[in-house]
């Protein structure tokens, strides 16, 4: 037997790390996501002549920011949801939205490269990450509904019902947008958002018709998010079809439409800065890092 085969590995050995031999040079055997993959690789991102590239980019950025921030809030439920099924469900919905965010941020960057924050020369950070991790809160275009801190599960259900209902209705229309890239992203998103809306609608009904306590919590959650309903409707240019769906859920749940005023003002709440501080800290600490 050759003793060398079992000698104690030295990570500082000139021949490399003890782990090198596990994989050789085939990095594809690592877990998912170790290598950047352009979500629009090979897609023709030329902006059609009759569209304003800057407007299209800003619009895609806003849609992408909503998905990114909502995804982050939902992912905060990981390992904290009331039961394993809901933990998995909320993580799945967060993942769908993260996928939409990646595509939309990449689309925004391709339509108007000037939107992308400048990074040090030679930085390997792709444009979608530059947009996600290197913008300040003031430069985010998301609606305030998605940035509110998480409350209890009922609060999340109320927020998700409003968000997915309005976003689904908007995406159904966007599926025929004149920009074929945005249209394709929306057509894909419709299928995902339909599952999200059904999930939120079912839990809304269950909590409303469940126990006194579940109903109390649901109504409190709905009252908390409702002041941001108008801003959401405006941002997505939503029509009466959205109210029809919401009223349908309210009716079967025996819940009245909340009579609380709209939150005034514009821009963002302090909650977004705190969310971004957590989301961006690692990327900002290593602007030349490779992931």
């Amino acid at each position: 037997m050759n003793d060398d085969e079992h000698s104690t590995p030295d990570p500082n050995d000139q021949h490399g790390s003890v782990y090198d031999g596990l994989l050789g040079t085939d990095t594809s055997q690592w877990a998912f996501g170790t290598d950047f993959e352009d979500p629009l690789a090979g897609v023709d991102t030329t902006v059609p002549d009759d569209l304003d590239a800057g407007e299209l980019a800003t619009y895609c950025l806003a849609l992408g920011d909503d998905a990114l921030v909502m995804s982050h809030r939902l992912s905060e439920w990981c390992s904290n949801a009331p039961d394993l099924e809901e933990d998995i469900a909320l993580a799945n919905i967060a993942l769908d939205l993260l996928g939409q965010a990646r595509l939309l941020l990449a689309r925004a960057a391709a339509a108007d490269p000037a939107l992308v924050p400048a990074l040090p020369q030679g930085s390997p950070v792709p444009v979608e990450d530059a947009l996600a991790f290197f913008r300040e809160a003031i430069d985010f275009h998301n609606v305030r509904l998605v940035e509110l801190p998480n409350g209890d599960f009922a609060h999340t259900v109320a927020r998700l019902l409003l968000f997915s209902t309005v976003r689904l209705a908007a995406f159904e229309k966007l599926a025929t947008h004149r920009d074929p890239v945005l249209a394709a992203i929306a057509a894909k998103g419709v299928k995902e958002l339909a599952y999200h809306r059904d999930y939120a609608g079912r839990w809304f009904l269950t909590l409303a018709q469940g126990t006194e306590e579940s109903r109390r919590r649901l109504l409190a959650g709905l009252t908390d998010v409702w002041p941001l309903h108008d801003e959401l409707i405006r941002a997505y240019d939503a029509g009466p079809d959205v109210d029809v769906i919401l009223d349908q859920v309210f009716a079967v749940s025996a819940v009245e439409r909340p009579e609380v005023g709209s939150m005034t003002g514009r821009g963002h709440t302090e909650a977004l800065s705190r969310l971004l501080a957590e989301m961006q800290v690692v990327a900002r600490a290593h602007p030349e890092g490779l992931w």
Binding site: D26, T27, S28, F32, G33, T34, D35, E37, P39, L40, A41, G42, V43, E85, I88, A89, A91, N92, I93, L95, D96, L97, L98, G99, Q100, R102, L103, L168, A169, E172, P180, V181, A183, A184, I185, A187, K188, G189, V190, K191, E192, A194, Y195, R197, D198, Y199, G201, R202, L205, D241, I245, Q248, V249, V252
Partner: protein
């Protein structure tokens, strides 16, 4: 004529459901071969599916092993549908204890709200019983729902209609 590059690309398997090849899953859209240069077109199943990066890497590696210089591009439209899973793929799912998807909902008009549990005819892939119950519409991967058989009591996964 089916090119050699197509045969290689078509035999690469899905990283999360390795009983399915990318061709069975319906994500392999096109393989263009020009001498040693190959361009493979794939379509994501879900917007956030993290398996896409691995599929791309596996395609590049397998084609490179076969002597090709491969590039992988994305086609977003038309969006992937579970209807694209081949009959061979559906059988492979069943053989491995997964329930294959039924027909995807047809589009046309506003998508109706469904507040009752999704109605599907799902039979247990282990014992064949038709008495099954939905545990969750979301599972370990974006494309699967969780079920339980009321007879043999085994949990199983169902590939969702989309």
């Amino acid at each position: 004529m089916v090119s050699t590059a197509y045969a290689v690309a078509a035999s690469v398997t899905d990283p999360e459901m390795p009983m399915l090849t990318l061709a069975d899953l319906g994500v392999l859209r096109e393989v263009e071969q020009c001498g040693r240069d190959v361009v493979v077109t794939i379509t994501p199943t879900y917007s956030g599916c993290p398996a896409m990066a691995t599929m791309r890497d596996d395609l590049v590696h397998r084609l490179s092993d076969a002597g090709f210089d491969a590039r992988v591009v994305v086609a977003l439209s038309p969006a992937w549908s579970s209807d694209w899973i081949t009959e061979h793929g559906r059988q492979a799912l069943r053989d491995h204890g997964l329930s294959a998807p039924g027909p995807a909902p047809t589009s046309g008009g506003p998508i109706p709200l469904t507040l009752m549990p999704t109605a599907r005819l799902v039979s247990c892939p282990r014992c064949g019983s038709a008495k099954t119950e939905l545990t969750s519409e979301f599972g370990a991967t974006a494309c699967k729902a969780l079920y339980r058989c009321s007879d043999c009591r085994e949990p199983f996964e169902h590939v969702k209609e989309i």
